[in-house]
Symmetry: D2
Subunit: 511 residues, 4 copies
């Protein structure tokens, strides 16, 4: 049931999406070199799910079906599930930098919650419909990309006010057999080499925006879908020690009167619930981002330590290099800890699932978003200037110069020059290249810009509880019971002992 | 069995310690105004343990005796215990700023581990001896101060090299009935108003330092003990809205040929185990510090939000104030998250207890140590300049000026001027006074200076695992199994589901 | 003509201001212990102006009168003057922490500019009137405090909208012999022990606020003036090694129908010019603040280095202490450099004076405002925990403990224990006391809060010039001449060579 | 006499250096596309020197010859010269990002000082020899690259201890007609397209290292010289809006028994003077780096503001974007101010020239080195995620997708989609590409790594003066005259008024 990486590649060949890259139409995404690093990264996710030793982490039992499914398409039922997902994503990203498939997980969990809520409020039947769809995806072990960020047009205007109505994706027609959608999604990670798109709104909507409150699933090769993608990583570049192997493609996706049958529609005009879906997705996704960037950080830590050795200046013996390495570790484990805390204090949803606690999840994402730049700085600090001084790999094969370069690179007798060059190029690839630029920008703005995180932190924080502490201290007003606001979710002494598995035992957030 | 605050005060009157403060000998520490804020803070710890609603958090079952004891004197058996302690300390410090009694907890847990380890290595019988002592303290519900930081003398010299042999506390005589110790401990929190001192070494020792490798318990009024203390908080100061009520005394403690019976001796010359005891204590204590300062941070958050309101500039409506409040929250919850992660990834000790994971615990302490200054800055940012402009509380009773001051303070019709003054004074007390200075310095250096944390982070971090990731990426060397180093302690999918209660399920740290 | 410190004290006794402190009416400010540190700090400013070696720095020729006057009451005519003022303030604050008299300078320069501008626009005669007043102050060598920050009341309302019309100082009556003013100024540095108040508006005004657009000079003992002050520093506290000697009082000043003769009125209802006066003052004052806090920083640097020595850990030999010392130096000299640049690129005013370049001046103030907290942190880092552990100075005279404390403090044979204690107390006083709180808050909010600086930086920065660079790079639009926006004021190759003395040679700011 | 850009290109064709790039030997550096952006950047430097309006800034009178020369090859005689150089470099780098030719200036000034000092100490005649050489370079208007950073080999060993004696460049033979040198220089900016190399030592030397204490001038095409270079910028890349136009090549330069005639030798074995030459160069070069990166910062500020506009979110109207823009400005002008201060407090050299004050120069370089990462972050913050989402420029010419992309990019009616794409690509090029990586690494490590700056700051700072302030405050020891250490160089009231031109008026640094 679980596909291998090879199965996944093969499965892609059964789709015929309209994909453009580097100015040309793509025949087969599974075989086009521009996407090879992206396909390889996703294939690794598939392969890891079948490794016996990783099975407890990479798969999980789906409670709605009782079937064992890939964790990257699973609905979380406990703080333990959240922790397991966190570790699974970190482990995958330690290999690939960005595992991409957790996007399916994040959207599935948000849709699970939102369809339940919409049904309760509007009497719709989205939840069962979504379950049926999700079970099929789990059974066929597919990957879905998330088509969320709209083109947006003039940012000062709401969706329905845009001069161009297709700036955001919307329902242009409601038919007996489904809805017809049009519009543009601007940033869809992994777009070319997935099986399906989960179309989701990227903001709260007003009544006039109702046609824009739409969530549904669309095969990548549905008629009317066009994908314009960027290459994944830096395929074919000999200096790209990491990103010639693994990478991510980002695509713009255009929907041109695409028919979506009703069984694939999960929100269609219930504008009041658009914001909830967006925010629920954000909480899951920011939590996943924390783990992803921690995995990337692990690569930097390893590469930094290796470079120090190759330079002949072991970090443990050189105070300012050790200082920088500790700072790098502090950043990575510091934001990862927020992911752990968001798991432990996970919030039960009435739908029966558990969502990461939003304050911790947003703080973790905010920390990584702004500190990725410091991570680059620290990796550069420990690596020295060789990274920008080293001639390109073509020179390695130039008989007139190769020997000279090797001599120049000889730092320690026990480290071959080629090794030192290789590590320097790896660090250059990870921190001083187009790849590095992609990682920093996607860390800053992916899953929401810092302002969005700050709004969510403020919206969810129990400020009133904190004020009550001061009132009590000043002997003022109603004397609240001490401990009322001790933690933002976990009830004292309950979480682990009573078992995170039982979602009903998970208290609501303090606000 | 659990004392109330009143019982605790009464119990103090049964001791006759030699205490000096402000240049004079103290008759009764329970009744001396200089210590009132300290005694009040400890009394609250006692009272909270008897509140029914807080019982699960503030007490716990001691597995070695089967008796329910105060959590602040309890041995942790699981990640859940660590989380509970974390929350208990935060809750207490939300009220008192610094609960002090967790020091007993931290030392007890370190002694529990270290005595077990020393016995295993040296064939001694310290562990049972310590258990007997600990059970008595638990049964009588006493509080112990930790006498760890020695006077140190010339910092460039080891203990046995000091010109003055009493710079560090040492064994001066071994007798049939016990050991005789002499020397100076420089910084003992809560020294005057506890029942016992736990004397512990503050560093690793060499063989020549063996007499300095000593741990034992000494009643505060044992013959030969002299305490020179600072007042707790700012007792009697009308402007000290917080620290006239709660505070901490720090004392220097002098041991002058103090006889310690063998049943109270837990390390006596086994110099190889001195460092372990110190580091184990540090791990527990830094973990506790995280919670303590988070509680202090909660007060700042509450006071900051209240001051914004009183100034007529609600934080939620003023972008730069909301920004500062979110930054403050980010810092507090950011380092608290490290405490949570250190709990979840707690490390099982062969003695049967669980210790906070050291990387997360040290990162959390390091973050609070350096960011306490930012917390002050942010509290000042949101509060405005009133804090330093407001005339003192004496002016409130000056008929010639009181009315004028009230007029000047009138900002919003719905907030009385006296309220605004009170909040401004509270913030001044918390962040711009001797109290603030104490909190910043104790955050920076208490439980070890930043350098000590950095050394521990580096010593405990699985750098080799990270290097292996890079080797695998570069197709170099032995291909380790992926996931080998995914997390620094918790085994995938195990912690909560399999139950944190069972310490044998807790894996060892990766290193 | 220039008063000595003794003359200054004597001169204060000729005034009879209504001053309250600590809940009581003050008989003689020159003799009241609560103000002694403030009077001492100002007296030192007077004494330094008469030292021969400092004469070029501490005095200057007033171009409008040709007379040599104290630099702290002088009108700047060149970038050199601005640099000299900067250095003079730093030198004074290296001794006293805060020299206070530069406030007179800052207000004089702003009034010099603003009266000239108002006259040109409104046909008034304020400039000559102000010159006459200023010459008298210079000749009598008086000090003026700046009464600028109003009580403000509800911060969401403009002055004329306040429920209490006295929340801001305003003209309540215009008479043949002068104006009558009422209202409250909330934060007036040095209020009790100066000769005059310069009443100035603290914001821009609308037409309806015209009565609030008022600037004038009022003797401290004018009928209707009441001062409620805080003590200067920490007079009488034995632990306050610095602030028992030098300090600053801040007072609230109440004006109750105070008559101000016309010759002392410099703005009276010309509301369009209120903002200019405020901003001009801000530019001068923020420039002075930079120098003041650099002087304070010099004390921290010196004390930190001395403490390292006393602890037996010389900074130059201990990597992490040297690192912290360099960081401290970087902060202090980094913001001081902004003061230097603001001088070199000083902006000529049509009135014939020179104002600090506002972008650099605001950046310097912004840097010090937020980094004063880091300065405290770094001073604590290098000092260690002794500062909060050391018993108070009363213990030095307790025969039962003094010897023990001395033993405990002995770190190096060549540094007496009393010396180590003294330095620790100095650092505690400077960075961990009420004094430290005052310095941090006054750094953050004094002379305008960070938001105000940011607004000024944005308002004054030549963003359009920067955009033009990019347009040129993209071969787009009008191709501006390169170098048009090279520097924000100084014309290439002109400043020093052509002579800063000639104000006509000083170009206008780029915007 | 001053070459135009065209003259410069033509002049390059008269040299026949052995240059390799991308694995191949280069026929003509002036015509090879890999170096075009580098040649263009240098050509602009030549052209600007001939613009009438820029003449005062871009040229200066060489006092040793009385001839007007390009400022980039001129010896500074005053603080004004230093300021002029600072502004000239900033202006050039506002256009090209990195002007490169200031390296000649920095090395010339260092050699001017060091040859004078060596002669005085050793009785050599290097100074006159250097003057003759320099005058010729000035007259022919040549550009020299600085060959300073050696290959270094094992960093734990001194030059003479290296297993490979050519790890550092050294004298292998002294002959009647000159010296013969061999060895490797690892990072030589602009190496392929200059006229000459100035070979200089990169560290202090011990006596055993004497053969390594060598400074001399070598034509790029001297027999035995081999250059292995990286391309300049990103030539030919359509997405590289900036770095396809301007860029810098870095080359490794190999010296293989190169004969250098005596008239081109400026240090040959006087090992005691090697460190001085290195440090003097560092002071000049770090000062130049400040201006260079400020120019780069100006481009970021302009591009950021333009991107905000193009996104429909003008920075002035969006609080968090204005906040980020002000932060960016604060960084750029903050470190530039250090360059200004280093000029004003410039230190006179006995040779008759003026060197930037080292504390300010090193602080400025240290600030830019670490804050370049924040500059990237802030540019990303204001730009939004479009930078990584935008398909490549090839897509602009794909008829199947170009129109769709344009629709997606339409944000504001008054900004064409192509404009928005162009700005996004420019920001991507400047901050999220290989170019960005180069800028960040060269900022961090170029001209010395942060550790080097910190050492220089500590070495040059008048700590003892600061300690004296505290001694005076504590009434301890010799009472130094106040003001002794007021500023680290400039004598009160002297610099500008007395004229920076007169180097004898420039005081020595305080230490």
């Amino acid at each position: 049931m679980l596909m291998s990486g090879t199965d996944y590649r093969e499965s892609l060949r059964r789709y015929r999406p309209v994909v453009h890259v580097q100015g040309e139409r793509v025949e087969s995404v599974a075989d086009h070199p521009a996407f090879a690093p992206g396909v390889a990264a996703l294939a690794l996710v598939y392969d890891y799910a079948r490794r016996e030793a990783l099975r407890p982490l990479m798969t999980a039992e789906q409670h709605t079906s009782g079937r064992r499914v890939a964790r990257m398409v699973h609905i979380d039922r406990s703080g333990t599930d959240l922790l397991d997902k966190l570790e699974a994503v970190r482990l995958l990203c330690q290999e690939t930098g960005c595992a991409m498939r957790y996007l399916t997980h994040d959207a599935f969990n948000a849709l699970f919650q939102a369809t339940h809520r919409t049904d309760a409020d509007c009497g719709t039947e989205y939840h069962q419909r979504f379950l049926a769809y999700m079970h099929r995806v789990q059974d066929e072990d597919l990957t879905c990309a998330v088509a969320m960020t709209d083109g947006k047009g003039d940012r000062a205007l709401r969706p329905h006010e845009q001069p161009d109505p297709d700036a955001y994706v919307r329902i242009v027609e409601r038919r007996a057999d489904g809805i017809v959608i049009s519009g543009r999604k601007a940033i869809v990670t992994a777009a070319p080499y997935v099986h399906e798109f989960l179309v989701m709104p990227c903001r709260n909507m007003s009544e006039a925006d109702a046609p824009y409150a739409v969530a549904c699933a669309v095969p990548v090769d549905a008629p009317g879908v066009t994908i314009v993608a960027r290459p994944a990583g830096r395929p074919g570049e000999p200096a790209a020690k990491f990103s010639a192997r693994y990478g991510q493609s980002v695509g713009a996706v255009f929907f041109d009167r695409v028919l979506v049958p009703w069984e694939r529609v999960f929100l269609a005009g219930e504008w009041r619930h658009s914001g909830f879906l967006t925010y629920a997705y954000a909480a899951h996704h920011r939590h996943s981002c924390i783990a992803a960037r921690a995995g990337f950080g692990d690569l930097l830590i390893g590469a930094g330590a290796m470079m120090c050795e190759a330079n002949g200046l072991p970090a443990g013996e050189t105070p300012h290099l050790r200082e920088a390495m500790v700072e790098l570790i502090k950043i990575v484990e510091g934001f990862y800890a927020c992911g752990v805390a968001a798991s432990v204090y996970g919030v039960a949803d009435p739908a029966g699932s558990v969502q990461p606690e939003p304050v911790f999840a947003n703080i973790g994402k905010l920390l990584l978003a702004t500190q990725i730049y410091d991570m680059h700085r620290l990796a550069h600090h420990v690596s020295g200037g060789l990274v920008v001084a080293l001639p390109g790999p073509e020179e390695d094969h130039n008989p007139a110069t190769a020997g000279r370069i090797d001599q120049m690179l000889a730092a320690r007798p026990d480290v071959p020059a080629s090794h030192r060059a290789e590590v320097a190029r790896l660090i250059g690839d990870l921190t001083a290249s187009d790849t590095a630029g992609w990682y920093s920008l996607i860390s800053l703005h992916g899953g929401g810009s810092p302002e969005a995180m700050k709004r969510e932190i403020w919206r969810n924080y129990p400020v009133a509880d904190r004020v009550r502490l001061v009132e009590r201290l000043l002997d003022r007003g109603v004397l609240a019971e001490p401990g009322a606001g001790v933690s933002k979710g976990r009830q004292p002494g309950r979480c682990c002992a009573a078992g995170c598995q039982a979602p009903e035992a998970l208290p609501k957030a303090a606000e």
